[in-house]
Symmetry: C2
Subunit: 318 residues, 2 copies
DNA sequence: GTGAAAGCGCTAACAA
DNA sequence: TTGTTAGCGCTTTCAC
């Protein structure tokens, strides 16, 4: 069914080696009519190179794996991945997507078997992922390789500074309690801690919240200081705490201040309006794609300036 | 770096053929101690078979491609694909994801190159996709092959029946507004329409809602009948409408009734408690994976009965 | 300018 | 019960 390079060679009356060369960008080494014959035959037979054969020979495949963030995956992100699919296809790469939440061990197996040309992530790799990628010696591209900033710590700092600048003197950090490991929370907690130290405040109190009212209520009750200001792992945590505060009759932000993270869709309809931080995933993506192509050796111009991926969304909860 | 089957053979003192057989499920053909040596050596060397080598030899790879629907891709769907990733990995297959929207030609190229063992989709294949799959002779699994039930229509029906049984006589369906066509929404709308016709009610009114307060307010204002009952595309839409109803001073469910879909985390902390429908993705995924595995010839027992994937979560908004 | 030869890692048929 | 052999489709020296 599928034509092989031998078929093309036979059809064009040349050798397989010639077909390979011509079709891989070395056409100018050959007589123009030879190259033309090869192109014509390939087209006539509908030749598609076998990824397996090529990968076996080259030691690595043309696949690029994109790790999908565990976040709501709306229109923008879908556009983005479709765009990436097309852009990479233009450069001879095939994009495949992969849930980033899947255990690192299955990532490892996939990499060992598939030998992708690169692994790409919109959010910083977890240390487990980094370890796997390093060990397998795979080209890894994530936002920090774009800009070298520890985004999670920066997020924590941004949350902390927002709270302190609004006059709050007592900080807390609310982790999302989850069966899944949360690689980002600790870096963000560190960011909050940094701010507390720099501003001469007490160490932040740390609580765990899962997304249900009971959990949020006990977490809220555990906060010792009245007027405490809570930096939350994400908007869901923040909204759980806000719901709990409403149940307890606490006034926001006077009795408890809350800042979220993500600017989730639902945070946009929250009342009071949730103060939160937005991560510009689309900007991160286009920067990432550019640096990916560059790392792969495909010549794509890098954007001149590094965009600011984080921005504060003002609200009424701080 | 990566051990090959030769390395394992050398280490175990046997031939490559033996290693291959033992590691591919024919261990019992060999002397127990031979098999044991092979397993031990493979483990000791951290042997991972090369997907390329195997695919080249077998003519098709161990990859299973899942086509991602063009729908908002929330936590539930992500959990589903993570679940599938793990289950398939247990059977030696590697799940990769692919935007279904990408042009059929790129799908074709991917299939030609990657030679996947199967292509899986939660939504029915488009005719262009079917054509590609048929021509490439790839095993294709989509919901119609899993069961004859159109789950999205069933969801709409269930929402509609819940509303009607609670005494509501005027139905509406609220789509999640998206620039792109949403393959699930229309089937659900049909389900609602079915119910209206069966019960002799007027055709449901249809509105579009995006997840922000302004949009929800105008959608709500567009609902012509007081006491209308709205089946929502998902919980986010429902919660947006609830927020809008609160702003407008409407009482729920008296002035407007709302039923969601998904039982999202946040719907669990909503006040009033959102009436919604839960789709048991784990059950759906295992059914899908089971039929996939069966089609692949991997002997996985199919669940005896078709599980009920849908269940009503009672609340106070209907 | 072009082709012959070798080999990537694997597995299936066959031989021993 | 195990090993030998051959070859999947491709690319890359190297020789002509």
């Amino acid at each position: 069914m599928n034509a092989t390079s031998s078929d093309v060679a036979k059809h064009a009356g040349v050798s397989r080696a010639t077909v390979s060369q011509v079709l891989n960008g070395y056409a100018e080494r050959f007589a123009p009519e030879t190259a033309a014959k090869v192109f014509a035959s390939a087209a006539a037979l509908g030749y598609e190179p076998s990824a397996a054969g090529r990968a076996l020979r080259r030691g690595s495949s043309d696949f690029v794996v994109a790790l999908l963030p565990h976040t709501t995956f709306g229109g923008n992100l879908q556009d983005l991945f479709e765009q990436m699919t097309v852009t990479l296809a233009d450069h001879g790469y095939t994009l495949v997507l992969r849930m980033s939440g899947s255990a690192a061990s299955t990532l490892d197996r996939m990499i060992a078997g598939m030998k992708p040309a690169a692994v790409f992530s919109l959010t910083p790799f977890t240390s487990a992922e980094q370890e796997v990628l390093r060990r397998r010696n795979v080209l890894a591209v994530d936002p920090p390789s774009v800009s070298a900033v520890d985004y999670n710590r920066a997020i924590g700092r941004m949350q902390g500074l927002t709270l302190v600048d609004a006059g709050h003197r007592r900080l807390a950090f609310a982790h999302l309690r989850d069966e899944r490991q949360d690689p980002f929370g600790f870096a963000r907690e560190e960011g909050i801690r940094d701010v507390a130290h720099e501003r001469g405040l007490d160490d932040p109190q740390v609580i765990d919240v899962s997304i249900d009212l009971d959990s949020a209520l006990s977490a809220l009750d555990a906060l010792t200081t009245p007027g405490i200001a809570v930096a939350c792992y994400n908007d869901d945590v923040a909204m759980s705490l806000l719901a709990a505060a409403r149940v307890r009759g606490l006034e926001v932000p006077r009795d408890v201040a809350v800042i979220g993270m993500d600017r989730s869709d639902l945070s946009r309809i929250a009342l009071p309006r949730l103060t939160t931080i937005e991560y510009d995933i689309v900007a991160a993506a286009s920067a990432g794609v550019a640096s990916l192509l560059k790392a792969l050796g495909a010549g794509a111009p890098l954007p001149a300036s590094t965009p600011a991926f984080l921005s504060l969304i003002p609200g009424d909860t701080v």
